[in-house]
């Protein structure tokens, strides 16, 4: 008998593994790095609806583009922004105009919640002092309180997060879904462990990944992965650690386009809905993309 490859085109992966209305969708990547943009653009093309979007502790265009597409009903996040480039325009607008429901969280909530989801833990109690922000007051469904049975004190808790689907970028995977993060993992590996279905996009498929890097570097086990999509430059305009840096000019042009609906519609038409994911890198220009490849000694991360 032959082992079954999990490699498939992006359109098939989203069609097959993402329901038309997704209860909880987790998107990987942090700030302008490792955002699984090839998968996200395809989700928008296929107009899959998302009841709850969960992000890493710092989301960027991954969340902002999905919110801009109008497919997201509510968002659980601790930050959506563009770091030194400014606020996230669609997130900001949607919250201010109340077209999205915001589940306000802090960074540890997302980390604790994903860990609880991954490990079957009923919740995670917070360290003392973190209950002092105003967040538990505005998110009483998810932030609750119980008794520390060792001290008798009241402690705040984070609810488990169990995404139905996670969209994650890894730099490399083998055909069975075993995968590596060349640089930072952020909370992406936790999302993989906590989610029912994981769709992975990678820069390159490497048949003998563990031989290339050593098995201890391959810390995403294939049995957690449903589909592997080869998507070179699939994080653009964000970076892929160890492969290429982020496209600051493109991000700025995105931010600018958000200032009026026509320009945003044009951006959408040009880069998302008007083209297939296959055409995307051609649209950006392969010369330009290659120029963003990590200039330094990337072997440093190997």
């Amino acid at each position: 008998m032959e082992r079954t490859s999990k490699v498939m085109p992006v359109s098939q992966a989203i069609q097959r593994f993402m329901p038309d209305t997704c209860d909880t969708l987790a998107v990987g990547g942090m700030h302008m790095h490792n955002n699984p943009m090839a998968l996200i653009r395809e989700v928008i093309r296929q107009q899959k609806k998302v009841k709850r979007l969960v992000t890493s502790p710092s989301a960027c265009i991954n969340a902002d583009l999905m919110i801009g597409s109008g497919l997201v009903e509510e968002i659980l996040t601790a930050y959506v922004g563009f770091e030194h480039l400014g606020l996230a325009p669609n997130f900001r607008k949607a919250v201010e105009k109340k077209t999205i429901k915001l589940l306000e969280a802090d960074e540890p909530f997302l980390v604790y919640g994903l860990q609880a989801g991954a490990g079957g833990l009923p919740f995670i109690p917070y360290p003392k002092g973190l209950e002092l922000t105003d967040i538990p007051k505005v998110n009483p469904d998810l932030y609750r309180f119980t008794t520390d049975p060792y001290t008798g004190e009241e402690v705040m808790t984070a609810a488990p997060i169990k995404p139905s689907v996670a969209l994650i970028h890894c730099q490399e995977a083998d055909p069975y879904g075993n995968a590596i993060f060349k640089g930072s993992e952020f909370t992406d590996r936790q999302m993989i462990f906590a989610s029912d279905v994981v769709i992975l996009q990678v820069e390159t498929i490497v048949p003998n990944l563990a031989e290339k890097y050593g098995s201890t570097k391959v810390n995403v086990p294939g049995f957690l992965i449903s589909a592997v999509v080869e998507a070179p430059f699939g994080c653009h305009p964000t970076s892929s650690h160890g492969y290429y840096t982020f496209d600051e000019a493109h991000l700025k042009s995105y931010l600018k386009s958000c200032k009026n609906p026509e320009a945003y519609g044009e951006y959408f038409q040009q880069y998302v809905t008007g083209i297939s994911e296959k055409e995307y890198s051609g649209k950006i220009g392969l010369d330009k993309l290659n120029a963003m490849r990590q200039k330094g000694d990337v072997s440093f991360y190997d």
Partner: protein, 259 residues
């Protein structure tokens, strides 16, 4: 040419392997040479998409050519992937990650509860065992395959002195009332026979007798009243294909010479 004579431990590995299905995910703890061999040989025969994690090493799908004694040996890391132990604990706690958990004990009772803690009262044990490690996760695993290399009335007893690896607890009512994510013990593999569990009473039931073993021999070697069906088949001997796979996995005969 493979020598067709096989050892009892090799037969046990084959019985386990036949229970594993393609695409499943299995996990095992310490002193798991037989389950490790069973998983690896299954990948080479009928279950190329089976995944398994070798205990404390965190290795995912060790290539294990050859098999090694220790579940934490670095040789396990000649594998497809490797996880830190806390990640394995997350997977074990999740409740839907593992289809199969291999368990065992100093004592195994009629409901498949396992005991790795002590013989006698915990406060005043006649034998102190090593400790239970990961067995408490059994109720959160798809199904449990229990194995022992000592089929006798001291090991297979009516009720464990200490429950450190829950099976069907005190029987069907107590099990049903807990509403657990796992399906409980499914198979017991010993040097004498294979056993499963009666659907209604949740009591251990003779499933097949290893070649040359009689029902009386099993009954005498068991410390509680087994469910014995009217007709009990003989455990099929290892096939040529199974033996070839097993000896490719275990060229130095670690499993072969175990019993």
């Amino acid at each position: 040419m493979i020598e067709n004579a096989y050892s009892i431990a090799e037969l046990m590995a084959c019985v386990m392997a036949r229970n594993l299905e393609d695409g499943e995910v299995a996990v095992m703890g310490a002193v798991s040479m037989i389950p490790m061999a069973a998983c690896r040989m299954s990948q080479l025969t009928h279950a190329p998409n089976l995944s398994y994690i070798s205990g404390g090493s965190g290795a995912v799908n060790p290539f294990l050519d050859p098999l090694v004694f220790s579940s934490c040996d670095e040789e396990n890391l000649r594998s497809e992937a490797a996880l830190a132990l806390p990640d394995v604990i997350l997977l074990e706690g999740h409740g839907k990650r593992f289809d199969v958990f291999f368990g065992g004990g100093l004592q195994i009772d009629q409901y498949g509860n396992c005991n790795l803690i002590c013989i006698g009262d915990w406060k005043n044990p006649s034998l102190r065992g090593p400790g239970t490690v990961g067995l408490p996760f059994l109720p959160r695993s798809g199904r449990v395959i229990i194995y022992t290399t000592s089929h006798n009335a001291r090991t297979l007893i009516e009720k464990v002195d200490f429950n450190s690896g829950p099976g069907f607890l005190d029987g069907p009512e107590s099990w049903a009332s807990k509403n657990l994510p796992g399906n409980g013990p499914a198979l017991v593999v010993t040097p004498l026979c294979a056993l499963d569990f009666d659907e209604e009473t949740k009591i251990m039931r003779l499933k097949s007798l290893h070649p040359g073993v009689t029902v009386d021999q099993v009954v005498e070697s068991t410390g509680f009243k087994l469910v014995i069906p009217n007709s009990v088949p003989t455990t099929p001997e290892p096939t040529q294909i199974e033996l070839e796979a097993l000896r490719r996995v275990d060229p130095s005969g670690i499993v072969r010479n175990l019993l």
